[in-house]
Amino acid sequence: MLAFIGRRILIAIPTIILISIFVFTLQHLLPGDPILVLAGEERDPEVLEFLREKYRLNDPIPIQYLAWVGSALQGDLGISLRTNQPVLELIGEKLPVTLQLAVMALVFALVIGVPAGVLSAYKKGTWIDWVANVVALSGLSVPNFWLGIMMILLVSVKLGWLPASGYQPFSEDPLQSIRTMLMPAFVLGTALAATLMRHTRSAMLSVLQSDYIRTARAKGLAERVVLVKHALRNALVPIVTVTTLIFGELLAGAVLTEQIFTIPGFGKLVVDAVFNRDYAVVQGIVLCTGVAFIFMNILADVAYRVLNPRMRDK
């Protein structure tokens, strides 16, 4: 197992290098002198020369790249032009907000998607299956920012049940924090619930046809036990894999959800950075999400092996 993890990490290294080259290249796509962009309002020649030295813009491009990677490895992703904070610190500040949103959305998705998938597979061909499939396909087709807007219109504007925006840190007031996050998490979780439902359904359908399920039934086990203990446990393998892999979707969805509900998270940070031309922040975020995504992929592979003993010897 350890050897497997080690090998997976080794394979990931070239991928990470490719991502870093891509992120580094981004700043060279900018029209004009990059230093004028990096300096923002500053036009003092001495300052510009200092920055040029600092970012090694007088050196050949490969050297510039190595210098940039070197400082990135030491945790220096540059400074935000907007707030003068180190980029890594900014990301660290916003990340917990997005994580809370993502975790709550994932809970919604699992609580809705998995039981719906199990039920739909169990009742295959009935109206329950049909309804579940229609709802899931609609969940996949609805743009989540529109769903968010419509939810605000209904739940906040018309009914006045939940606040339309406003963020409360979890550490200050957990209950209020969860209350304000309910709607955004539901909106973000919808598409994921649909994805999970469809995967659970197909996994359950193939498991339910297997011999050991027939044996379990023949033994006279209660249907509930057969379904949950025997079938679902085996169907879990693809479900867990899909769950780790929807991380990217979750993150992209969070960008939009945070924008609609004005939640000060990671997604709001990157969108604001684009409009403020805060390039170091954009680069830092792309790099961090890329690396995080690769680690989620490794985690998915590992989880797959842990859950599926047959894979281990291969």
Partner: protein, 293 residues
């Protein structure tokens, strides 16, 4: 459909039967037909936009600001008095165009790379696979945001970003399918006869991997349309005053209480057209699936 025009003797013998089975299955699926009808409707509307009897989508009317739906404006007017219906019709052009072009980019770049990786294996495969993984590691929206930030926001850049991030799916699909086809006896025989790689690929590999790629392309158009709408919603796609469903929603969210219709119709448009592509794609997949007869 490419397969039908192929001169390969082995293929023509089986194709008519296969195609009629395909049509029969498509006709037997009401969901796929409904999806196809929805898609067709939006395509026709988008194509006919210039000749439909609707007002100019960018013409403002200060006497008719944020008017509720009426006979004169069936979908109401927006914050500067533009007709929402007319902007919806023209927005359909932007959405469909973005969906089709970005998927075309993904297919045209991804399929040849995937076929190469599957055909040659070894180092070629290793390099292409690493690049694919790197591309997969950037969630589409983040990649699109990065490109918009550095290249400037526009519909073209949004389409490039969406196309690039959809590319890995096609590389992987084409690679896997090619590897599968390569083990078939007829490919082995073609090789033994001394057919050159290019001829072999275009005559035997491409027609055989075409159906799954068509299915994936249809389903990816659905995702690409949502992607374009998302980017335009964030202000990183279609730029004002040109109409796009996403940017209409971006403005609409500021007038939810006064003018909810501004948000209702563009979102419903995205939902319907995406649903149409999803239904149609699912139907295509079932109809083209060689496993169940």
């Amino acid at each position: 459909m490419t397969a039908a025009t192929e001169p390969a003797e082995t293929a023509t013998a089986t194709l008519p039967r296969k195609q009629s089975r395909f049509l029969r299955k498509m006709r037997a699926s009401p969901a796929a037909l409904l999806g196809g009808a929805i898609v067709l409707f939006f395509v026709v509307v988008a194509l006919l936009a210039p000749i439909l009897p609707i007002v100019d989508p960018v013409a403002t009317d200060w006497m008719a600001v944020r008017q509720a739906p009426s006979a004169a404006h069936p979908f109401g007017t927006d914050e500067i008095g533009r007709d929402v219906l007319s902007r919806m019709v023209w927005g359909a052009r932007a959405s469909l165009l973005a969906g089709v072009i970005s998927v075309a980019i993904a297919v045209c770049l991804g399929v040849p790379l995937g076929v190469m990786a599957g055909y040659f294996g070894g180092w070629t495969d290793a390099v292409i696979s690493r690049v694919t993984e790197a591309l997969l590691a950037a969630p589409f929206l983040i990649l699109a945001i990065a490109l918009a930030a550095f290249l400037g926001p526009s519909l073209t850049n949004a389409m490039i970003a969406i196309g690039l991030s959809a590319m890995p799916i096609f590389i992987r699909l084409a690679r896997g399918q090619t590897m599968m086809v390569m083990t078939e006896d007829y490919v082995e025989s073609a090789r033994a006869v001394g057919l050159k790689p290019f001829a072999l690929v275009s005559r035997y590999v491409v027609p055989n991997i075409f159906p799954p790629i068509l299915v994936q392309a249809t389903l990816t158009i659905a995702t690409a349309i949502i992607a374009e709408a998302s980017l335009s919603f964030l202000g990183l796609g279609q730029q004002p005053p040109a109409p796009s469903w996403g940017s209409m929603l971006n403005v609409a969210k500021n007038f939810l209480e006064q003018a909810p219709w501004m948000a209702l119709y563009p979102g419903a448009g995205i939902f319907l057209v995406v649903l149409g592509f999803n239904l149609f794609g699912d139907g295509l997949r079932d109809a083209l699936d060689p496993r169940d007869h």
